[in-house]
Symmetry: C2
Subunit: 411 residues, 2 copies
């Protein structure tokens, strides 16, 4: 079973506050295995593989590695790349040229599919290589795993941000609408309800993309809450929709995967509420800080991220391949978990939505079961506030000598 | 000089992260003076005075007061009200009905003008009352005082948020544009430069509303930074403008003072940069969290807020009136300050802009003097991260019995 050679790790898709925890977990595990000669980081994920932008992680400074564990956002650089057949063939050439026998890719369901395709191609090319996916997404939308590293910290940020903006709305007696990331899955938006301190407090209404909302019911609910509490805070997913069609405020631009870029929901709803109930409505879009604002790093999330990185390397060296590491919750209070695995194909390209039974009957909030599920993931802080502003570590990046010609991707 | 009676305090305008520090400073000082019988909080500032919505702060629970000191956003409630003559006359009736001999109003330059008008009217009505303005604004745009309580924490948030979003841009090799509060004064936007860790790091370009920007130079600077550093982070004030006219993205709606509501600058500039340099540009608007996100409370700011509240009460009891408390910086490192006063008319309705000599020659950043001025205000954290999500104290609000008829404001 022993397989000796080099290892390669890449980070993919949207960063998270704890993604570098997985990287450091993997590095620390790899250092303990004599089977791994050199451990390369791919600059900007698969893009770095294609262009042979690989640097030696074992040569990085120990202090940088130590700090990186608690540094938000992909330290290796990330990418959004849906590989074509020619890209996968190029990856194989790169793996062979640099004797890569272990490949780790840290990402969401798109990335797990990429992992599986690479695993298949290696098998078909008679290149013995172990391929393990490491889960990561703030959206918490990977199937099978109890939760996804990256989610707990994003949820902690979202819940706290809603509470903060709610203080502003309460002070004025205003309306506030907050837009939370989540195109299809409402885990992050639902998690904001964990911050509701008393029944009368914000967030009063929480709309997940899993539900379709009736405009009249929506405005009636807004009016009723405002009349009852003297202020109103509404949390909505960016994928919020009235009726069956995508809501009208979606941007016409497309992202790298051909999806419409989202945005503008909170503003549109704020204007609609202001007009209907005659109270000034403000709005905020939580935006990129959901995946990068380190004061909201969650301890459970940081621990999970580190564990899945470590576990991926240990399992690969022990012989596992074509799997993604998963989290199994073994105790809720105190929260405890174990790492397990599932086949890459069981998670690839699948999306875990919030189940119907965790959405309330009025479709304007989540149930207590949802709150109980989320609360341990976002409660405890992992972060020691620095005395000044954060100082981020920087990799020195000792790049390997390229062994292949320049790669030009066809359009 | 001794004046015995009741005292009244109100919070006005946009809240800040530390505004309740001033409230608690005032309450704790008032408790020590036998001249002050009862100390009322006005619910929602001047609106509460007009409607006799006054509650007894001495009857609030000690633990609530203790927690309130570090709770963001106006705990009494706030308002944006530009008083008309009839409003001021009504205020005088309320003061007389409830034997208010001390009036404290915590706000920006609009509120200091209100204070002065009330002070004048009291004099002309032969009502002996001491009126002291307590400074507050995240914009830092009050003249004479070294800085404004509220600014340091907002600046800490803005600088940290820019650093966080910059991590995301760096990880992708993208462009990020961040919109910071500030219609006329660029203190908050400029403060984001305090987070620049190395010369090549974000924020690369910082645009204050004090400058008018040439579109061609703007795009050339963006392109040059992106080419040099492989990513680009731009911080802009919401009052950003090309040429002499207000920029085109300003909302057509008006706020309570008849100013155009701002917003949309970051998005417009992001689109413009994306088109010009062909790299994906994202944008974030820091929004209401700039004045409410407690993890970024600054220690110096919290200390200042508490001190000005305390000082206002002590000075009023000692006989001062028609003044605003100011901050005098007595040492920069370690940062030390003293409270002084200035006449209300010297600050009322005036705006302190960033001086020309603190803006760099290229008009796309601030000078080292600016950074040295801001750094101590935002460096140290005042906040102990709570184990879970924040739990906010709530005033019990023992309201006084109204003594006047209902007030109906003319349109």
């Amino acid at each position: 079973m022993s397989l000796k050679g080099n290892a390669l790790i890449g980070q993919s898709g949207g960063p998270t506050i704890v993604i570098n925890g997985s990287l450091v977990g993997a590095i620390e595990a790899a250092e303990k295995h004599s089977e791994i000669d050199r451990f390369f980081g791919a600059e900007h994920g698969l893009t770095g593989v294609l262009n042979e932008r690989l640097f030696d992680l074992f040569r990085e400074d120990d202090e940088v590695i130590r700090q990186m564990r608690y540094t938000p956002s992909a330290g290796l650089g990330t990418c959004r790349l849906k590989p074509k057949e020619e890209d996968l063939l190029r990856c194989m050439e790169v793996f062979k040229a640099h004797n890569i026998r272990y490949f780790f890719y840290n990402g969401g369901n798109d990335s797990q599919l990429t992992c599986h395709m690479i695993s298949e191609l290696a098998k078909n090319s008679d290149w013995e290589m172990r391929v393990i996916g490491i889960p990561k997404t703030i959206d918490n939308d990977l199937v099978i795993t109890d939760n996804c590293p990256g989610f707990g910290s994003a949820a902690r940020y979202a819940a706290w941000a809603v509470q903060a903006a709610a203080r502003d709305a309460l002070a004025f007696g205003n309306v506030e609408v907050l837009e939370v990331m989540g195109r299809h899955a409402g885990w992050l938006t639902g998690s904001t309800q964990c911050g509701r301190q008393e029944d009368w407090m914000a967030p009063h209404l929480v709309y997940l993309p899993e539900v379709t909302v009736d405009p009249d019911k929506f405005l009636a609910d807004c009016k009723s809450c405002y009349d009852d509490y003297g202020y109103l805070v509404v949390a909505v997913s960016e994928g919020f929709k009235f009726g069956e069609s995508e809501q009208a405020t979606t941007s016409e631009k497309l992202d790298e995967f051909g999806h419409a870029r989202l945005g503008g929901v909170a503003e549109a709803l704020g204007n609609m509420i202001e007009e209907a109930i005659g109270v000034r409505a403000r709005f905020d879009t939580l935006g990129n800080l959901q995946r990068a604002f380190s004061p909201c790093m969650s301890k459970v999330d940081a621990d999970e991220a580190f564990a899945v990185g470590q576990d991926a390397v240990n399992r690969a060296v022990a012989g596992e391949t074509d799997v993604m590491v998963t989290i199994k919750r073994t105790s809720n209070d105190p929260f405890e978990f174990e790492c397990e695995t599932t086949s890459l194909m069981s998670v690839a390209d699948k999306t875990k939505l919030v189940p119907d039974e965790w959405i309330n009957a009025d479709k304007n909030g989540v149930t207590q079961e949802f709150v109980d599920y989320c609360t341990p993931l976002l409660s405890e802080s992992a972060f020691e506030l620095p005395p000044g502003l954060p100082v981020y570590p920087v990799f020195q990046k000792h790049f390997v000598e390229p062994k292949l010609g320049k790669y030009v991707r066809s359009k």
